[in-house]
């Protein structure tokens, strides 16, 4: 029996005159991995920022377990809500004035070294500054930081964008292992269909600010609508 973790109803978000999300409806289920795909600029990242509370939305409802609408939370409650999320940002967003060790200590003061094994990184990196590391390594550290605080929901914003296919494959395998082992509810924004097929149970396809298709990831090719099939075949 699937249990709804987050329910999004009629969500709308504009930036000035530009409509980014328009009456978007989506349910996110506990312990499932959801991929959000779509063209660039269709509002995928904005949607995740509305979900985790980093971005305010104009209208609609985002409910989380017993919270009716996260928009009504006061600052303290909103911070507590945000604390439930582990987020891997698009460019890792490690604090570049701090070493890797200090970045990880931000989440957990002790036992943080164990996590390095999970993301296949050596301890020798702990004293390095993020700017001295490749984007692939930065993303793995970003992933380690995201899971270190044992989040209820993991948000991965384009985890393989900008990586070469080999590193991209490594990151996908790593995420698959973490998601399947830890059974964390995961939302992944991606353009990489390999990520979708590898570790996402369900897929939501966004077009023009609304969900155009939603279904099981392994049924995309069989049941996907024309827009989705065109998208994955690069026919836009």
């Amino acid at each position: 029996m699937r249990k709804v973790k987050i329910r999004i109803k009629n969500l709308s978000k504009n930036f000035g005159d530009k409509v980014v999300l328009k009456n978007l409806n989506l349910d996110i289920y506990e312990s499932e991995s959801l991929a959000i795909i779509g063209e660039s600029g269709t509002g995928k990242s904005v949607l995740t920022k509305c979900i985790d509370g980093l971005e305010d939305y104009d209208s609609g409802i985002i409910s989380y377990e017993n919270i009716d609408n996260i928009r009504n939370l006061n600052t303290q409650k909103k911070n507590e809500y945000l604390g439930k999320f582990g987020i891997l940002f698009q460019n890792a967003a490690l604090l570049d004035s701090l070493t890797v060790e200090e970045n990880l200590k931000f989440c957990k003061k002790d036992n943080f070294k164990k996590i390095l094994n999970d993301v296949a990184l050596p301890e020798s990196l702990l004293n390095e500054y993020p700017n001295n590391l490749s984007i692939g390594v930065q993303k793995r550290i970003g992933l380690a930081r995201a899971i270190l605080k044992s989040p209820e929901i993991l948000i991965l914003d384009e985890p393989t964008t900008g990586l070469d296919p080999i590193i991209g494959k490594q990151i996908n395998s790593l995420i698959k292992k973490l998601v399947k082992e830890k059974k964390i509810t995961t939302i992944t924004v991606t353009h990489d269909m390999q990520s979708v097929y590898e570790f996402s149970d369900y897929t939501a396809f966004i077009k023009k600010g609304s969900i155009s298709w939603y279904g099981k990831s392994n049924e995309i090719k069989k049941k996907g609508n024309k827009s989705l099939l065109n998208f994955i075949n690069g026919l836009y």
Binding site: L54, N79, L82, Q90, A93, S97, F106
Partner: protein, 265 residues
């Protein structure tokens, strides 16, 4: 006729949007200020970052403030000599140098120098953090960005600027002393005696109060524009420029207001 009305309304709309932008910016700055004050009393204080900023804003600005002060003192002595020698008032040069340096030149020039150096660096650093989502990352790590980024910098600014200006006062007076004694053949003892006898506590104190206010303006505006940086490298560049320009204008404006308040003018 219809076209003329359209053009008129377009013109009105343009003026309106400019005023709207000015007032919304002022509103945002006031909100940013109140948020900073609120979190100052409710959040964590990051001592390590405060000391790091004290070094960056204060200690690292010492060479540029020192050089500015010494050359200003030297030029002031030379220019005063050129003017005062026309009516045999050379003995007033030490008084003019010490008064100008302590009341006006050291605080204003140090303020402008630190605005260009540290204010720009603060806006660029925080702006880069904003556009690379590091500030969002801080929020997800249960860290308040105001406590982590704004408060240590503002504190470091209001403490280091008066110290810099005090050192600048001494170096500026020393610049005037060097020119007068080594180039213009003044008696060193008489020069120092004149300086000491003429300067009053309020002259130095008013300069230090100005420095405190300028320290706040520089760091606060740097943080504000950094937090509001948008886009990529271009956005960070613009926030840096706005930070330096607005700090410089506010420094000159506040200098006038404080001078008239201190000396009842």
């Amino acid at each position: 006729m219809n076209n003329l009305i359209k053009k008129f309304f377009f013109f009105l709309k343009k003026i309106g949007s400019v005023f709207f932008e000015i007032f919304s910016s002022i509103g945002e700055i006031v909100l940013f200020f109140f948020n900073s004050v609120r979190y100052l009393f409710t959040g964590q204080f990051y001592t390590k970052i405060f000391f790091l900023q004290l070094i960056k804003i204060g200690y690292n600005s010492l060479p540029v403030v020192g050089l500015t002060s010494i050359f200003t003192g030297m030029v002031l002595a030379l220019q005063s000599y050129t003017g005062f020698s026309r009516f045999s008032a050379e003995s007033a040069i030490p008084n003019v140098v010490v008064l100008s340096i302590t009341r006006e030149l050291a605080p204003v020039l140090a303020g402008l120098m630190v605005a260009g150096r540290s204010g720009a660096a603060i806006a660029a650093e925080i702006g880069t953090m904003k556009v690379t989502e590091q500030i969002d990352a801080l929020k997800t790590l249960s860290t308040n960005p105001y406590n982590y980024l704004v408060i240590p910098r503002v504190f470091a600014g209001v403490i280091s600027l008066p110290i810099l200006v005090f050192i600048g006062d001494i170096i500026g007076v020393l610049g005037g002393y060097l020119i007068c004694t080594q180039v213009l053949n003044f008696n060193p003892v008489v020069y120092l005696q004149n300086t000491y006898n003429f300067v009053q506590f309020l002259d130095v104190f008013s300069g230090l109060v100005k420095a405190f206010v300028f320290g706040f303006i520089i760091t606060f505006m740097g943080c504000y524009y950094g937090f509001n940086a948008k886009g990529g490298a271009q956005g960070v560049g613009m926030s840096t420029t706005y930070s330096v320009v607005s700090s410089s204008i506010l420094i000159l404006l506040m200098n006038y207001i404080l001078t008239s308040l201190f000396f009842n003018l």
